[in-house]
Structure formats: C-alpha cells, structure tokens
Amino acid sequence: MKQLLPVLLALAAGLASAANLKPIDESGYSRLVASSRGKVLVVNFWATWCAPCRKEMPDLVALVGKYRAKGLEFVTVAIDEERDRKAVAEFLDRTKAPPPTFIKNFKSDEKFISQVDPRWSGGLPFTVVYDRAGRKAHVFPGEVNLKQLEAVLKKLL
C-alpha cells in the first residue's frame, strides 16, 4: 500500500487538474477578458505539440508568480484537441501552471484567431497582455521575451 500511495496521489492530482481544465469558446474568451477587468491579464496560447511553448511555460509561470499578489491574472489556453486533454493536464501539473486553465473548444479556429488579434496568423506560442481596463496592451507573437514581459507588467501593475 505504501508503494501505491504516491501513484494514487499523482493520479488524484492528475484527475483534479484534468477536471480544472475547462473548454473555452469564442464567447467564453470574451467573458474571460471582461471579467478580468481590474486586474492585469496575461493569456498564453500554447499546445503540447508546440516545442517552444513547452520550453517557455516554466519561465512564464515563475515570472507571473512574482506579480500575482499585485493583481496579475495568468491564464493558459491549450490549442490541443479534446483527445489530448490528459497530456495537457499532465504538462500543466508538471509545470505548476496555476488555474484557470483552458482547452480550446472554438466553433471556428480561424474566427477565434482573428478575435484575439487580427494580426495573429495562428502560429504558437502567442501571448497577450491586457491592462486593468481590459484593453489589449501588448502581444508577444512567438516565444515571450521575459525581460520585455516583466517591463510591461511592472508598467501596468
């Protein structure tokens, strides 16, 4: 039983994070941005199949963790298929990405991409920073320049 305990705990943690991983669609994203007004919101679009996304996630998590107490909200949106939910949850667990965490459930990928930013081609990773008024303040196409992100956060917070 002692040997089984860590396995069971890990399994339970995985199930918990898988349950926390919520589907998000176009209107859900609009609601998310609207409901975050009053906070600075950082949204990171990533995928388990995207190597640069996986590489930058631990650094992003560490950086945003420094500013959460000052009113920063960090949200991840996985651009994975529903069939990959388990792999998404496991990665988020491993990197200690805080909730809320989402997985795509868009009616149209193309429309969603344009909704987030008309200039976004759909390449990942992609990170958007919204100010406390819910206005788009900065976008990072490709891997985030952490120094630049930190400077943006300091200014907005």
């Binding site: 995928a47 995207c50 990928d109 991409i113 200039r119 081609s121 759909g122 390449g123 788009k136 630049q148």
Partner: protein, 183 residues
Amino acid sequence: MTAIAAFATALFLLGAPGKVESIKATDLDGKPVEVQTSGKVTAVIFISTQCPISNDYNERMKALYNEFSPRGVQFVFLNANSTESSADAAAHARKNGFPFHVLKDANNVEADRFGAEFTPHVFVIGENSEVIYRGAIDDSRPADKVTKTYLKDVLGAALAGKPLPVTETKAFGCTIKRVKKST
C-alpha cells in the same frame, strides 16, 4: 513605437509579396533549384518534419498533389526550419511516401519573402505570378472534421479562371524555426 505597432510593422515587412516570378531553394542533395511561376498555378507549402500539425496533413497534401499535379498545378514543398536538416527532410519524405519533392529553404529566405509563419502555411501563386491565396490547407487539423477545403477550392477556381472563394485564411500551426540573424 508601441509594441503592438512594432508587431504590426514586423508583420507588414514579412507580408506576402505581391508578385513572385521565381522561387529559389535547394534540393535535398544541396543542388540549387529555381522554380519559375509564370503561366502556371503554383502552390507553395511550407512543411515540417517534426510539427505534428504539419504531419497530420501529410496524407491530405499527398491527395492534393495527386489530384492537382496532373491538372497542371505546380507544387513547391519547402522546409524552412533551421532545426531540420536536408537529411531529416529526405528521411521524412521517404518515411511518408511523398510523391513530390521537398526543397530546403536554407536561411528561411523564401519563408521571409512570403511571410510564412507556421507549418503548414500555404501560398498560391496565379498564372500572372501574383500571390492569390495565403493561409491554411483546410479548416480542421482532424481530417474527419474538415468543413472547408480552402486550398482545394482555390486551386480549382484558379485553374477554371473563376473568382476565388477565399484569398486569406488562418489556422493554428507550429512556428517556422528561423535562423537567428545578427542585428
């Protein structure tokens, strides 16, 4: 300049060129290849050996090639990823039984010229050498959920001399791994 303005400027500079008279690349043995576009409908597709999205389209790309190549469409499959060698691309083509040749876009010269950003990213060049379509192959990574066959429809319309059903689309994909250039 704000970061958003800088992003917009960068994208503008990377934007697809209006006219592409020829495409220069190397075959997977390193020999230079130049493809002329005048008088033909040409489909340029940036692909990857490692990107799961690109690989999910392998069978669809083969089907498009088999359907449209005999009808006169010229296909140019380019690998612009600095992280994937010509040997990688050759092994990948063999493994997947590609009926077409893959060319290497060393230093992502053509990717920069076209403004290609991810794989698979498609550009269709009309008979007058103008870029007439840029975007996705279709609207769904899972093949069984495709509802819009963008590339197929554009090629069909271009061959028939009909108005294009779409000229630009977007899709999620793996970013092209460009060479790091000193500034």
